[in-house]
Amino acid sequence: MHEATTLRTLSDPGRAGPASRLSRLAPVHWLALAFLAVALGFAAVAWATGNGFYLRLATEALIFAGLAMSVDLLLGYTGLLSLGQALYFGLGAYVSALVLRDVSPSFWLAMGAALLSGVLAGLIGGVIANRVKGVYFALITFGLAQVAAKSVYNTHALGASDGLIGIPQIQVGFGPFSLDTADPLSFFLLVLALTVAAYAGLAYLMDAPFGRTLAAIRANERRVPFLGFNAWRYKLAVYVLAACVAALAGALYPMLRGFVSPELMFFETSGNAVITVIVGGVGTLVGPVVGSLLLTALRSVVGSWTEHHLIVVGVIFMLSVIFLRKGLVGALLARLSRRNGQGRSTP
C-alpha cells in the first residue's frame, strides 16, 4: 500500500501539467471538498430556519473533530495509539478560558497562549511517552492524562471539580472586520474555516517528506535509521504537532460553551476521540471530521430517546471495526477507486 502511494507521487508530477492540477487532487481531498459543501449547505439551511441549536451542536462537533484529527496524526499516520489526547485538549481549553476571563477577551491572544502551552506540554509529554513503544506508549499517554486531570480536579484555583464558569462571549477581530462568538452562524463559520485550514495544512504536511517519514516509521520503525532519519525526532515532532492541534481545538471550547470543567481531560474525552477516528476512517484526516459530526448528531438524537445511548454508540463502533476496517471514509474511498477502475490507494 505504501509502495503504491510512493510510486504515484513519484510518477505524478511529470505526468500532470498545471492545467490538470485540480483533477490531480486525491479522492480523499474531493471528499473533503464535498464535505465542505455539505457543511455550508447545512449552515445556510440552519441559518434560514433560525436554528441556533443545531449550528452550535455542529460547532461543538467540529471542535471535537480537531481533537480527533490530532489522534489521527498519531494513530493513522505514525501508528502511535494515544489514549490521553484529551490532556492537550483540556489544557488548551483551560489556558484559553483563563486568558479570556482574567487577562483579555482577545481571540488571538487566547489561541496564541493555547498554542504555546501545547508546544511546551507536548514536548514534555512527548519526551516521556516516546521512551516506549506500542501498548506501553498507549498506557503512558493514558497515565499522563489521568495525572493532569486529577491535578486539575483537585486544584482550588482552577475551580477543582466544579470547573470554571463565566468565560465571556467575545468579538473576534480580523483587521477591520469582527465577528461575535455568541452568534451561532458566525462562530460556526469561523470554526469551519479553522477546521478546513487545519485539514489543508496537515494533509499537505502528511504528503510532504515529513509525512512520508512518519509513514515509514509506521511501516517499520527499525529500518528508518537505515534511510538516514532519526525516528525518535520525527515521533517527538508529530507528538508535539498533535498536541498543538488538540490544544487549539480545546481553546475554542470555552468560547462556545462559556465554561471548562475537568471532565474535558478525562479518559471519556480521549476515548471518544479514538472511537471517532476509527469510525470515521483512520489515516484520512477527513474521516475524523465526518466521524465527529456523525457521532455527535447520533448521541444528541439517540440520547433523547433512551438512556442506553452508549450501547448504540458501542454497537456502531464494533460494527465499523468488523465491517468497515478503514472507517466510513475509507470504505467510501475504496468504492470510489473501484468505480474509477484505478487501483489508487489512499494516503
Binding site: L57, Y153, S161, D162, F259, E263, G303, S304, H308
Partner: protein, 394 residues
Amino acid sequence: MTKTTLLGTAALVLLGLAGGASAADPIRIGVVTPLSGTYAPIGQQVRWGLELATKEVNAAGGIMGRQIELLFEDEEANPAVATQKAEKLFQVNKVDFLTGTVNSGSTLAVGQLAERNGRLIATTVSFSDAITTDKCSPNVFRVNARAGQQSAALAEWLAKDKPKAKVYYLGPDYEMGRSTVAAFKAAAEKTGAQSTGEVFAPLGSKDYSQYFGQLRAARPSVLYTSTAGNDTVRLLTQMSEYGLLRNLTIVGASGTVTAQNIGAIGKAADGFVTGVGYSAELDTPENKAFVAAFRKAYDTAPDLYGADSYGLIGFFKAAVEKAGGTDTDPLRKAMEGLSWNTPQGTKTMRAGDHQAVQDMYAVRIAADGGSNRFDVVGTVPGDAAIGPDQCTRF
C-alpha cells in the same frame, strides 16, 4: 359564499383553534439528569420524585389549567454533556423551566446557559456552597439544603447532645473532602467543640488502620468523617474490627452513609449521625402520605434527592400561579421569598441568594443487621442552619 369569505372564515376558525390551544398547552419542564453511569441511582430518585409530583398535580387539574410535561435528557454527570442537552431543551423543545442537574459543575454550567437563554433553572441535588454564594446566579434557584446547612445542623445537634465534645476529623484527600471537613470544623468550633486533630486519607484507600494509632492517641469522643461510597464501607468496618467504635460517636457528611452503601457497611453503621434535609422516617402526616405514595409507585422508599425533587414541583406550581405565567422576570420575582409546603416541612426561598431555607434534621442510623432506619434525633430550625447571605451578584 365567495372564496374570500370562505378563506376568512377558515382563518378565523384556525385563529380560534390556535388561541384555544395555547391556553391548554402543557407547561414543559426539562430535566437534565444523569440516567446512566455512576450517578444514575441519584438521577433515578430525581426522576421518580418529579414524576410522582407531576402525576399528582396533573390529576388535580395541572397549573392554571395547563398540564405539566416532563422532558428527560441524560447528562452523564458531565457538564459538557449537560450544557449541550440543556441547550437543546431550551432552544428546540422550548421548555419553560429546567431542573435535574446533580453534580455541582453541571449546575453551574447549566445555570450560566440559562442566563444566556433568559430562562430559570433549579437544582434539587447539588450541595456545593458556591452555587448560592460566590458563584450565585439570578437565574439559578436551589430548593435543597446546601453543604453549609448540613454541617451547621450537625454542629447544632452535637453542641446540644454532646456539649464541648472532643472531635477528631478524618477526610478523603481531595478538594471536596478537605473543604467539607474545614466547613464542619469551623461550625463545630463555633458551637464549642474542641478539635483534637485531623488526617486525610487518599481517595479509595484500602487500609485505614494506619490512621488508627493517631486517632486513639488523640482520645476523641466524636469522629467526623466526609468519606463516601466504598471508602466509608472500609473505614467503618475496619474501625469495627479494631474495636474502635466503642465509646466513640461517629458523625459525618450527608453523603457518607447512604442507601447505596449502608448494606455493605452492615452493623458498623449503627449509631452514625449526620445532618441532612430529609429522612423517610420524618413523623409528619405530609411525609407519611408522600412515602406511602412513593412506595406504592416505585416499590422503594424516597431518599433526600427524591424528596427534594418532589418538592420542586410544588415550588414551581406556586410560583407560576403567583406570577400568572411562565415568563422569566415575573416568575423569578414570584419565586423570590416564596414559601411552600413539602414533605420535609415548609421551605422558604431566600430572595437574596436563591437558597431555600428549611428545617434541618440530625439523623441517626439504626442498623441491626437486617433492616436499617434513618431515625430523626434532632431538628434544627431553618434560621439557625442557613447562615448569612453571601451572594453579591443580585
